[in-house]
């Protein structure tokens, strides 16, 4: 029957569909209520014709699907997908509204179920990961509730304390603490609840734990308050620090050992220093005393030999004169030796005090020359001086004179008759440089360093000149160095020697 749609056919089609189809007239009263609508709501068409529909079909701008929640005959809720369209006559007049209702309650339920399932899955995952973390931790982790009961624990806790999970769950946390500390801990726990705050590991919370077998061990604890749906709880991480304590104790013992050893060493050192100081002082006292004791008999030996050689007490024959001369000369040499030894030991004991003063280098130079010149004159040695300095020195004048004297008397000693000695003083940056050049026998290269050694006498080259103490240059070198200067030698055998030294202009301020 193409083209022909008898009303019965249309009605049968409507009723065959599980969608609810309803039509309302312009007054909003139901004019059609399909079988599907009956199945959704529970009302029959007879009940509903002329009634107002249980869903809102009047919403403005309604086009396409819309979800609504409505109520069935039995009062239960039903979720609907509602599609409305105008009901027009053949002439195009609006007669009312038709609506197709789709019960989406099961669909929604399923949707909700899926969401719930997914959430559950996520929770399970989180729980599993939490568990993993909990179990992966190297420390015992427990959670306790407001009453101090253990409500969560990891395997490390079981292993550490020697209990099973079931033995611990629900037990007060003091279960893990030695009996004698429990009351104290309860008190502390109450305090903590009043002022809960995160206390990290190592913030001074040290406690003793007690295993099931009664053995105790040191633990360190960190606490974090946790607020959740289940109420207020505290997570405690308990770390067994027996090994660390042991290591610490060992380190402490080692440190203590070291400290004691060090203290002993220091004491020993202080004692040795004292001994050295004492020895030094004794040495100085000994030297002073010895010098005094040696000078006293020398005083009379020199004095009487001088007296004899003056022949005031009667004439001496030539031999006697010569003998007395020997005594006199050798006793003077002995005196010189004593003076030098004393001087050197004072320098070496660090007892030499420089007494700096401001002076012109010409002054000690002239003094030395006036005492050296007679000796030089005996050997017809000419001494020439060149001074090119316009600055004054701040140094120990007496010691500078001693340096000059030693170098010049050496020069005279080792220069043959008729030779020349040249003394030059010039300015070298912050120092005065003085050189004493002679036309003497010279010193081989190999001995240039050794001449400054104590008791060094330049071997065969001295050709019988064996005066002096062998200490003069050693003393001279030290005096120069005490002033912060340098001394050196340029010489070749047969070509004379040049001793040079420097003294900083302001060495007294060093």
């Amino acid at each position: 029957m193409p083209g022909s749609h008898p009303a019965e056919v249309l009605r049968a089609l409507l009723d065959a569909s599980s969608f609810g189809v309803i039509a309302v007239d312009t007054k909003g009263l139901i004019r059609l209520w399909s079988n599907g609508a009956r199945q959704i709501f529970g009302w029959t068409e007879e009940e509903m014709i002329g009634q107002r529909p249980p869903v809102d079909l009047e919403l403005p701008g309604k086009a396409g699907d819309e979800r609504q929640r409505a109520h069935k005959k039995d009062g239960s809720a039903v979720d609907l997908e509602v599609r409305v369209s105008p009901w027009k006559s053949e002439r195009g007049n609006v007669e009312g509204t038709v609506a197709i209702l789709n019960d989406i309650t099961p669909h929604l339920e399923m949707e909700r179920g899926i969401v719930k399932l997914m959430a559950l899955e996520k929770e399970v995952q989180i729980e599993r990961r939490f568990r993993e973390l909990l179990e992966a931790a190297p420390d015992a982790i427990i959670e306790i509730d407001r009453q101090g009961r253990i409500i969560l624990l990891n395997r490390v806790t079981e292993k550490l304390f020697g209990y099973t999970r079931d033995q611990l769950l629900g037990k007060p946390v003091e279960f893990l603490i030695p009996e004698d500390l429990r009351a104290f801990h309860v008190h502390h726990r109450e305090d903590y609840w009043n002022k809960p705050q995160t206390r990290p590991m190592g913030s001074g919370l040290s406690l003793l734990g007690q295993r099931q077998d009664g053995s105790r061990f040191p633990v360190e604890i960190s606490l974090s308050p946790v607020e959740s749906e289940g109420g207020f709880r505290v997570t405690a991480i308990i770390r067994d620090i027996s090994e660390r304590k042991l290591a610490e104790d060992r380190i402490k013992a080692i440190q203590q050992g070291y400290t004691q050893e060090l203290a002993a060493k220091n004491l020993e050192l202080a004692e040795r220093n004292q001994e050295v100081e004492r020895a030094n002082r004794l040495k100085s006292e000994f030297l002073a005393g010895m010098s005094h004791e040696l000078r006293t008999p020398l005083h009379t030996i020199i004095g009487f030999s001088e007296l004899l050689s003056e022949e005031l007490e009667g004439p001496l024959n030539d031999k006697q004169k010569r003998f007395v001369g020997h005594i006199h000369k050798d006793s003077l040499h002995l005196l010189e030796l004593i003076n030098d030894v004393l001087d050197l030991s004072k320098i070496e004991a660090g007892k030499l005090e420089l007494r700096p003063e401001v002076f012109d280098i010409r002054q000690p130079m002239d003094e030395v020359l006036s005492s050296i010149n007679p000796q030089a004159a005996v050997k017809s040695i000419r001494i020439e001086t060149v001074v090119a300095i316009d600055r004054e020195l701040y140094a120990d004048r007496v010691r500078v004179r001693q340096i000059l004297f030693n170098l010049l008397s050496n020069a005279v000693k080792f220069t043959p008759e008729g030779g020349n000695i040249r003394v030059e003083a010039s300015q070298r940056e912050a120092c005065v440089e003085i050189s004493v050049t002679d036309t003497g026998i010279g010193i081989p290269q190999a001995e240039h360093q050794a001449v400054f050694d104590k008791f060094h006498q330049v071997g065969h080259t001295t050709k019988g000149v064996r005066e002096g103490t062998g200490l003069g240059l050693a003393i001279t070198q030290r005096l120069v160095e005490e002033h912060g200067g340098k001394i050196w030698l340029e010489s070749e055998p047969g070509k004379g020697s040049r001793f040079s030294f420097t003294i900083p202009f302001d060495s007294g301020r060093a």
């Binding site: 002073a288 010098s291 005094h292 004791e293 000078r295 006293t296 020398l298 005083h299 009379t300 030996i301 020199i302 004095g303 009487f304 001088e306 007296l307 003056e310 005031l312 007490e313 006793s331 005196l335 003076n339 004393l342 004072k346 005090e353």
Partner: protein, 120 residues
């Protein structure tokens, strides 16, 4: 003739100084220690006193302190004679009232010159 008092516990030391000064024309009195030096000084009122600093009992420092307290010896030249050669000894001696300072071993000319200078 001027009188010189020499105080030294060593007889050879005294004899040396005595000989040198007598040769030069002075009268010499000897004292063997500090106490005798004080007694001799007060009895003989010498024109110059030579004190060995190092004597048993009262040493040269003790003697000069005693003498300088006495107005009679306020101006008397007093010379220190010592075998000590430590730094600062001369300054110390001059600061407590010695007029001169001679170290042992003495050189005869130096002793003669010093005595002559002080008694001029």
């Amino acid at each position: 003739m001027k009188t010189v008092l020499i105080a030294d516990d060593k007889p050879t030391g005294r004899e040396l100084v005595r000989t040198v000064l007598e040769n030069t024309g002075y009268t010499v009195i000897e004292a063997v220690d500090g106490n005798e030096a004080l007694r001799c000084a007060r009895e003989s009122r010498p024109d110059l006193i030579i004190l060995d600093l190092h004597m048993p009992g009262l040493d040269g420092f003790g003697v000069i302190q005693e003498l300088r307290r006495d107005p009679q010896f306020a101006e008397t030249p007093i010379v220190a004679l010592t075998a000590s050669a430590m730094q600062g000894d001369r300054e110390r001696a001059l600061s407590i009232g010695f007029t001169g300072y001679i170290t042992k071993p003495i050189r005869l000319t130096l002793l003669r010159d010093e005595v002559e200078r002080l008694l001029r």
